[in-house]
């Protein structure tokens, strides 16, 4: 017996729809910094759980915060914590889930590619424009034996708003009262001096092309472009090279409050690299969609356990075990659906 046409059509359509429902799509947006890590995770997670597919748009931390408030995405990602004002705008409580950490490194273009030792106030003065020459006593006194040319320091900063800038200006505000009053901490600030580059790529490109330049980029960019990086003096007095280990050390020694909104710049640990920052995934505590909420919780638990092992090969710093346990506990507090 053949089915009447409309019924056959409906049957076919419902079968197709059923198949489409079987694969769930979760959307996220935000930080460009965490994008390579997220890509790797989504790729690996697709093998762990083929029923869910993740889609991430790296539009920047500010964009990620805006989209999660507007609920156009299932999760956001940000390099800077959300302010109280922004959290108040959201229709529900948003949880900050730290996932990986990274470092802002100071890189430069000098003949011979020496490894410079710099402390916080000197870096701040360079960016304030008060230290203008490479062979200034402030730099030379920390680097005996390094040939510093008698040329101007050409500062390079970011033109676009960015979490990288947020972490860097947060550090400068902590080590230099003049920076704190004159410029402050933000994703985009009024730079007292210097050229602007768009994105980490713009800044690293500018530095590689022009001798005498000095700027800040994410650790990954300096490593992959084989650029020299400076050792920065931490509060314990040691000059530390940026690496995934020194960032994890900073995380271990940082003061982390209960809501995980913290700044880890200038962390007190002996091996800590002072200009580090963590990336957060932003999710609502109360997940309205039971399917999506369940998948979100499962993914977060996987990322904070198996996912952390994938961080170091990509030049990200994984969270130390003590912090992972605290975060996993927070993830289990996410309420899924109407139960």
């Amino acid at each position: 017996m053949t089915l009447p046409k409309p019924l056959a059509f409906l049957l076919a359509a419902s079968l197709l729809a059923g198949h489409a429902l079987a694969q769930l799509t979760m959307t996220g947006a935000g930080s460009t910094f965490v994008y390579p890590m997220c890509s790797k995770w989504f790729d690996a997670y697709a093998k762990v759980d083929p029923s869910v597919r993740f889609n991430y748009q790296s539009i920047g931390s500010g964009g990620g915060q805006k989209q999660i408030i507007a609920q156009t995405v299932d999760f956001g990602a940000s390099d800077g914590p959300m302010s109280d004002a922004n959290l108040a705008k959201a229709p529900g409580k948003i949880l900050h889930i730290p996932v990986v950490a990274g470092a802002d490194v100071l890189t430069y273009n000098l003949p011979g590619n020496p490894t410079l030792k710099l402390d916080g106030p000197t870096i701040a003065n360079i960016f304030l424009g008060t230290v203008t020459k490479w062979n200034d006593p402030a730099i030379a006194s920390q680097n005996p034996g390094v040939q510093l040319p008698d040329t101007d320091i050409i500062v390079v900063h970011r033109t676009d708003g960015s979490g990288t800038t947020y972490i860097f200006t947060d550090y400068l505000s902590k080590v230099s009262p003049e920076w704190k009053t004159k410029v402050g901490t933000n994703t985009a600030v009024k730079w007292p001096t210097g050229l602007g580059g768009k994105g980490n790529e713009g800044v690293s490109g500018q530095i590689q092309q022009t001798p005498g330049t000095f700027g800040y980029v994410e650790l990954i960019y300096a490593v992959q472009n084989k650029m020299p990086v400076a050792q920065v003096k931490n509060p314990s007095g040691a000059y530390i090279s940026p690496s995934t280990d020194s960032v994890t050390a900073a995380l271990a020694s940082a003061q982390i409050p209960d809501d995980f909104r913290f700044s880890m710049t200038n962390a007190p640990g002996a091996d800590a690299y002072p200009i580090s920052g963590v990336t957060w995934l932003l999710v609502y505590q109360k997940q309205d969609n039971p399917d999506k909420g369940k998948k979100m919780v499962e993914f977060l638990k996987w990322a904070l356990t198996a996912g952390e092992d994938m961080a170091t090969p990509l030049d990200y710093a994984p969270l130390p075990q003590s912090l992972r346990d605290r975060v996993l506990k927070r993830v289990s507090e996410i309420q899924v659906g109407s139960q």
Binding site: G161, K190, K198, T210
Partner: protein, 318 residues
Amino acid sequence: MTTTAPPIAAARMKAPSRLGDRLFSGFTFLMAATVFLLICLVGWQLWAGALSSIHKFGLHFLVSTDWDPGNDVYGALPFIYGTLVSSLLALLIAVPLSVATAIYLTELAPLWLRQPVISLIEMLAAIPSVILGLWGIFVMVPWLRINILPFLRHYLGWCPLFQGSVNGPCMLAGGMIIAIMIIPIITSVSREILTSVPHLQREAAYALGATRWEVTRIAVLSYAKRGIFGAVILGLGRALGETMAVTMVIGNTPQISASLFAPGYTLASVIANEFAEASDLCVQSLFEIGLVLFLVTILVNLLAQFVLKTFAGATVKQ
């Protein structure tokens, strides 16, 4: 027998239908009106998006040099200065090059050379802005920094235009890259204008005993003056709005400096750089910058129309 139809028969004859003509003129009018409406819509949308910022800063926005996203204080003067100076610089470099090229191609070049050169120039126009910007960062700016700028500073350092430290990305680099982008359009249109000069003009000048250059100057250029001016305005319009290539080589520093070696910032560049991460008041200030760019472009075009009308020039009366 007369050929005109008798009145009664004429009344019964239907006049040829004018429906097709009416439809055609109606349709073309609609298309023209759509273009006009689109421009108005863009202007209105920019105004609506910028309202908060306009209310907060008023006219002070146009004269303030303070661009501070951290403290939510915005002023557009450095960008207006950057846009106008880089465009003017581009015109100064491009117009002599383009008009000379056009004259060469129409008057002096051997016939076998004309088409290949024309194709090459059109290919220059086809290069995307971003690619040219990349070339600017990796080839043009280092070349300027190593060869040209120190030379200019050494010999012309007495002039405030050529003073200051040489960093690489600068206003001069921005002007040069815009010049490269507008050369094809000015050359093409000038060439069209020059080709359209009637041969009679040239022949008359030759008949009066003029030399090659005098023929070009008296007969061809005088006739084509207005058209070439129109071509320059087209180029200027493109120069004012050029974004990506300029952003990559101009240094992106909101400051006003007399020196061409200093970095600058243009209206289009600041929108391209900051729009993605901007929030609230910053977005509206960027909309206001967009509105300023829109108005500057319209103003420049109106000024050009005015100049064309006033200095009508020696148009030949037939």
